[in-house]
Subunit: 223 residues, 4 copies
DNA sequence: TATGAATGAGAATTCATTCAT
DNA sequence: TATGAATGAATTCTCATTCAT
């Protein structure tokens, strides 16, 4: 979703927007409204209207409400993973990777609030096959983080078990998700501050933190 | 949770089923179904049927679907907080408090799966007054954890700022919530294992963990 | 319904109100609430509560909501007819009878607003047997007025046909009913003023009125 | 009333039923059923079925039951006022105006029974905004009559006070409404007869009538 | 007798989804 | 292709009425 907010060329050629734009308009509208009202309280009428098309057209493109939502999730997930991956190169020191990753994540949340909310909402979605897919979408993010940590562990010469790794990344993602709410609720808050909070916890652990140790990578007062 | 908060009615009169039983039946059914289908996909018909009563009776007891859900949340929250508070006494060493708290939490989740899911679902509920209450309910949990950490920090001689504390507890709760999903999905999994994973992360930090340090309270190989 | 507002002896004998009082309480409550909300928007719960009894007791007394309403109507109708009849004695001059009757009617309306509204509401009630009875109750009033006019006509030596009489009384009652709304809406308004307006119209006719003739019985400026 | 206000759609396109037809069908059905059962005992299901459409369609057109009823009232009121106004031209003698007006009114009632009943029912409607509108609708009729009488009074060189005028028209409308019931109940009855009855009362007054005087415009024996 | 508790039947309203054009 | 119009299927909530005690 690096395309979000992409205004399709200042001057639209003719009177008709290209077919692809249709799709973009739909997604933009859907994401915005899903984020605002949640899946269930969002009606297809709303989306159609916001997208400036008719409902039958909407259905022609996506087939069903659930499918549309899933598509939104998929796009957002991909964009988020891309946003993180692009700044976390394997050859950086592990701390640096972590720091950059967190920063990328919280920046994404702060910048694409609606997109993030669409993702966050589906945390608990339990409806048969549709839900499975939704869960799978979410797992994608987790897999990426797990892989990241796995590589890091190996590099530190201390390979962890699969379960161990999974647990760590699950915890990490959960912590990040939870903190993201603060960014959503207080638009003024700076993503770096949130990153640092989490980085401190992750790197020093509570044990260290309570003894006044913080992650040396950022000065407590620095930004 | 059927056992929590059940005041056994000072004197059970005669053979007539005590009115409270109805209430319990309703809550049991509601929690179970809300957990299964989520708030929106759950109909009052379903709950009434599961509770073995008629819909009007259901409404007589709880007033409205939203109210019923809120009541469920409130009960579960209280039970959860009670479960944690009862094992975390202030005079214990801070590590011990943390360990016991996590254990109590994950045990609760494992034991009262449905109850926990009801709570977890409301993560994203943004509808006027009903939503406000839902958010408040959730905040209660967070407040308790924050207070816990606050006391701990003070005891360690390193009082943290409000924001700092809030951030830590938010992260902690998020991590725990996230890990709880594993317990839900794999009923065989032992809560202690999950606790230990998180304890390790919390106490040693990722930094330590990756160097093979684990929380000394549990042996790395121990189950 | 001369009993309306009759507070059943300052000191209720024992702890239990006499059974008859039950009935009165019920009617008082019913009339008040029917008047306030109308038949359909009034619930039996409301009436029971206002009467200070339980719903089963309410049903024990009256059998059904429709029956209760009909009883209310019947009582009010009788009270109204009594109020009018008691001041219209046959041996008075016809004009005087008319004037007194109108005055009695509008005074009743002004004094027993709720009671009157119960009667007025059922103007259009068309539900099989229940409605028939309701219409019959209303007809009672009309019959009385018709009879009044009939006697008057005979005394004036100009007996009118049945249809003619019926038409006149129907018109008269309708006019009075319609004017009663003003009394209901403006509690300060004096019943005599309304009576005089109608008396002028009835006695002089529009033809006369428009030429400045008024019923000589009351001076235009007088009360 | 199906004929009133029907703008025949500038150009009926093809074989597709014009959308307006739906609207007409709905109104026809609604008026008929509201007249039959009254507002409260009428269900939207009934109306939808009678109109040969589905409930959602019904809602798409009118929004809500109350709104639908209000629309019906409005239409009927307008039609009635139009029916009367169209025959009462200001330059006619006052008697003639009155006579024609009454005739138009009773003819309307006789011809559009259901329509009239819809209007007559709302006499007592006291629920917030919906009720306000209902009362306003009724007042419209009253205002028109008041204005009529006002002009007449002025022309007769005897202008009446506002209250006086209002009282007269209120009485007149009430009398007419009341008499209309006879036309409803006895379909065979001729509107002119009812008009004449009321005209006699209005023009001669009871005083005159009882002395055998009748409005000279119609012969006493004439039908 | 009096009632706390329960309910069958129904009512308004909404929404994802699909024709006919 | 794109859509105005239509709907089947629910869903929340209410109320007159009745048992069991």
């Amino acid at each position: 979703m690096p395309d979000v907010n992409t205004e399709p060329e200042p001057a639209a050629k003719s009177g008709r927007t290209a077919p692809t734009d249709q799709g973009e308009k739909i997604f933009a509208a859907a994401v915005s409204i899903f984020a605002e009202h949640g899946y269930h309280k969002t009606s297809m009428d709303e989306i159609a209207e916001a997208a400036g098309i008719s409902k039958p057209t909407l259905y022609a493109y996506l087939g069903s409400k659930a499918e549309l939502y899933r598509m939104c999730m998929r796009r957002v997930t991909e964009a988020l993973i891309e946003a993180i991956s692009s700044v976390v190169s394997e050859d950086l020191p592990i701390e640096e990777q972590l720091w950059r990753g967190l920063n990328a994540f919280f920046s994404f949340v702060a910048r694409f609030r609606d997109e993030w909310r669409v993702l966050y909402q589906q945390v608990v979605w339990q409806e048969g096959p549709a839900g499975d897919e939704a869960v799978a979408t979410r797992r994608l993010l987790l897999d990426n983080v797990t892989e990241l940590l796995g590589r890091a562990a190996v590099r530190q010469g201390n390979p962890l078990g699969t379960d161990e790794l999974r647990g760590l990344s699950t915890a990490l993602v959960g912590a990040a998700e939870s903190l993201s709410e603060g960014l959503i609720d207080h638009p003024g808050q700076r993503p770096e501050d949130t990153s640092r909070q989490l980085m401190n916890l992750l790197w020093q652990g509570l044990g260290g933190l309570l003894h006044g140790e913080v992650w040396p990578g950022v000065s407590p007062a620095g930004t």
